[in-house]
């Protein structure tokens, strides 16, 4: 009982325990903020990683594989699968209206089908807005109102529709690049993009301002079709109108991917349906009727079906695909369906042993693994730094036990036992840990909840930009507290203090009461 009373009194009347509490608070807050942000970073990565690639991808690069629509039908018959769609992936080069040239990943998609497998529709940026975005306090979003310069009269609903179907109103195929690709869009701190007026070198070598809205323009797309041996045939170039831009939240995708209507990419890469012909051995053949040599004609011997490089699959709602085990099980389902498909088209499609059936985790494995390792490393380093709190608490408590030697002697004279005195100091350490950890938890929660605002303030006032989206993939710092981790860190904070207080507590308990009473 006296331990509780003295713990409360010592906590509220002494400076030194406040220092220990401050140290514990800082340590707990540091570890929690780091763990929450890094953990949130990983979670965002995992969630966003799936947003544009579905759950499983069946992939045969370069030349692709035929009968993809049949495969999609077979897949969609399985109740565990919500949808499947074919896409064509190829590296390409695009030229923007300001003559910038970018190497890009071109994805040929049927927008509507693609949107059933991925979050494509949600990522289309230029769309009608009923109200300003929450952080757009200055109402600078050009989609608001009608009197916005050259946006006046812009039909945002039509933009959305064109982006979804990748088809212009006149029926021509269109492209949807990532919103960071052109470099024309300026992302404001509020998260809103506005078309900027970047300076570009003109043909005369002088800088000139470009004031363009990319969806009003065109891009020139260069693709290299490959033959069956994987060798390039001849560069194909088309000019394609831009229907919209997408914003997935993954900087890598937003700055390097261009979606183009499926049939156009298929044609440009020579992957559309084609007649299979047989060339004669000699350019001339002898015509026995006329007795003359005549030009030999190629002979149509069949039809090569259209091909796609990839079929993306999305699991049905309620089918778990988040954990490693779950997604592996789902991948197995897709693999077995493909095996049946391959058996029915033996010799025409890659065998089930050759085709690449990859989960979203497989496709993001390098990135996920890197972030997981980075998180572990950062936590280890911070944990090590915070472990010094043990020694800080030990030093403070050792000093306090010395200061309170006479009190210990008095308590022993009053009948206090060795165990009772030890418990007093251990309990005191635990209280310092509990209060410090509690405050640390509160501080971490406040920081994590407001980390984007804090970061913004640091940037605005001190020029300190820690979270560069071009480095960290995401535009927004994850700001969710994981309460399970919080419990672990708080428990570790209390444990650290108990550990640090153990030796001084033992010293206090074992103190000779006579010496303690005579202590000057």
């Amino acid at each position: 009982m006296y331990q509780a009373l003295l713990t409360r009194k010592y906590l509220t009347t002494k400076i030194m325990p406040l220092l220990a509490i401050a140290a514990v608070t800082l340590s707990v807050a540091t570890v929690l903020v780091t763990w929450s942000v890094m953990g949130g970073f990983l979670n965002t990565l995992l969630t966003s990683g799936r947003s544009m690639i579905g759950d499983v991808s069946i992939y045969w690069p370069n030349v692709g594989f035929p009968y993809y629509d049949e495969l999609c039908e077979r897949l969609e018959k399985d109740p565990r699968i919500k949808a499947a769609c074919p896409i064509i992936e190829s590296f390409g080069v695009i030229a923007l209206p300001d003559d910038q040239v970018h190497g890009v990943m071109v994805k040929g998609i049927d927008g509507t089908r693609f949107a059933r497998v991925t979050d494509y529709e949600r990522t289309l940026w230029w769309r009608p807005l009923d109200r300003p975005m929450p952080k757009d306090t200055d109402r600078v979003d050009p989609r608001l109102g009608t009197d916005k310069g050259y946006f006046a009269g812009e039909d945002w609903a039509a933009r959305l529709e064109a982006g979804l179907t990748l088809t212009e109103p006149d029926g021509s195929a269109a492209a949807v690049p990532g919103i960071e690709l052109s470099g024309w869009n300026i992302r404001l701190p509020s998260g809103v993009y506005i078309p900027g007026a970047p300076q570009r070198p003109g043909r005369d070598g002088k800088a000139r301002g470009i004031n363009l809205f990319l969806p009003d323009g065109e891009i020139t797309l260069h693709l290299m079709p490959l033959d069956k041996t994987g060798r390039g045939v001849e560069m194909v170039t088309r000019t394609v109108p831009v229907a919209n831009e997408f914003h997935s939240g993954i900087y890598e995708a937003d700055s390097q991917v261009v979606f183009v209507r499926f049939d156009l990419v298929q044609r440009m890469l020579n992957m559309d349906e084609a007649e299979r012909i047989e060339r004669p051995e000699s350019p001339f053949v002898f015509n026995p009727k006329t007795g003359r040599l005549e030009e030999a004609h190629t002979e149509v011997i069949g039809v090569d079906p259209a091909r796609a490089t990839t079929v993306l699959v999305r699991a049905a709602d309620g089918v778990p695909v988040h954990s490693e085990e779950d997604i592996e099980a789902f991948r197995g389902v897709c693999e077995s369906i493909y095996a049946e498909f391959a058996a029915d088209h033996a010799g025409e499609v890659p065998g089930s042993g050759s085709i690449l059936v990859r989960s979203w985790r497989d496709m993001n494995r390098t990135m996920i693994s890197a972030v997981e390792k980075e998180t572990g490393l950062v936590l280890f380093v911070f944990g090590l730094v915070c472990f010094t709190t043990v020694f800080l608490v030990l030093a403070i408590f050792w000093s306090m036990v010395s200061e309170k030697t006479k009190d210990i002697g008095i308590l022993r004279a009053l009948g206090g036992s060795t165990a009772g005195i030890t418990w007093l100091w251990l309990r005191y350490g635990g209280a310092v840990g509990a209060v410090g950890s509690g405050l640390g938890l509160l501080a971490a929660w406040i920081v994590v909840r407001n980390i984007n605002e804090i970061h913004q303030w640091l940037g605005d006032n001190l020029g300190l930009v820690i979270w560069d989206p071009s480095v960290y993939y995401f535009f927004k710092i994850p700001s969710d507290m994981d309460w399970q981790k919080a419990v672990v860190v708080v428990a570790a904070g209390v444990g650290t203090c108990l550990f640090g207080a153990a030796l001084p507590a033992l010293r206090a308990g074992l103190m000779d009461p006579v010496r303690a009473l005579r202590f000057e």
Partner: protein, 252 residues
């Protein structure tokens, strides 16, 4: 136990302290007996072993082990040897049978006056016991402080009290568990004469009202004269023991 049987006694008690590599004998064979309700003053110069004797009688320290051939050294309380008590029993002995009062009061500076008194009961009863008897303990502590003229000081801290007031708080703390013996180590040593006298009056009053046994260490002849019996310690041995005839139990 008959009327003259000692409540506390010491037989051939030795105590040596080690100061670095030097052994310093403080008590060199002290024997005494104190009757229940007796007020005994232990008088001696500084370093004569008075406080050491008090600590040994109070179970705060243990005497030296004497050699087996001649050794019969022991301290007894109501016939029970302290040397045979376990640590826990000694703790309980101090908590229930003994009340300590020190020269420099030794109050806990963070606690208020009332808490300084009740803390002794907290040590004795533990959490459950204290919670169960909290009301009566607080009433008793308040009553003791009232009796010492400190009823208006219950919520003050020791730093806000005079020396005499602090010593009265210390006496109240020593009495909170209703001990049989009060061990006072120079209780007036840090007070002016008038305040010291008032403290001695209070102790005398307690002895008469409660039948408390009082062993008071002092180096002040005048203070010692207030006691019924004076034991003079010189160089670790009892040089004089002018016990009143009725209560003389043991002599060295």
């Amino acid at each position: 136990m008959n009327e003259t049987a000692p409540i506390i006694s010491a037989t051939d008690v030795h105590k040596t302290y080690r100061m670095g590599r030097v052994r310093v004998p403080v008590l060199k064979g002290v024997s005494l007996g104190i009757a229940p309700g007796e007020w005994v003053a232990v008088l001696g110069a500084s370093g004569s072993g008075k406080s050491t004797l008090l600590h040994l009688l109070g179970g705060l320290d243990r005497p030296d082990k004497t050699d087996k051939k001649n050794g019969s050294a022991r301290i007894e309380f109501e016939g029970r040897a302290l040397g045979r008590m376990s640590r826990g029993e000694l703790d309980r002995y101090r908590a229930t049978r003994i009340g300590f009062v020190f020269q420099f009061y030794h109050l806990l500076p963070e606690l208020r006056v009332l808490e300084n008194v009740t803390v002794g009961a907290m040590v004795r009863h533990g959490r459950l016991g204290y919670t169960r008897h909290r009301k009566e303990i607080v009433n008793r502590a308040s009553g003791l402080l009232e009796a010492f003229g400190l009823g208006h000081r219950l919520r003050h801290r020791p730093g806000e009290l005079s020396g005499g007031e602090r010593q009265r708080v210390a006496i109240a703390r020593a009495l909170i568990n209703e001990p049989r013996v009060l061990l006072a180590d120079e209780p007036t040593g840090n007070l002016d004469r008038a305040t010291g006298e008032s403290i001695l009056d209070a102790i005398d009053d307690l002895r008469e009202r409660l039948g408390l046994t009082i062993i008071m260490v002092t180096h002040d002849q005048h203070v010692a004269e207030r006691a019924e019996r004076v034991i003079r310690l010189e160089d670790g041995v009892i040089a004089a023991n002018n016990a009143p005839p009725k209560k003389n139990i043991l002599r060295t």
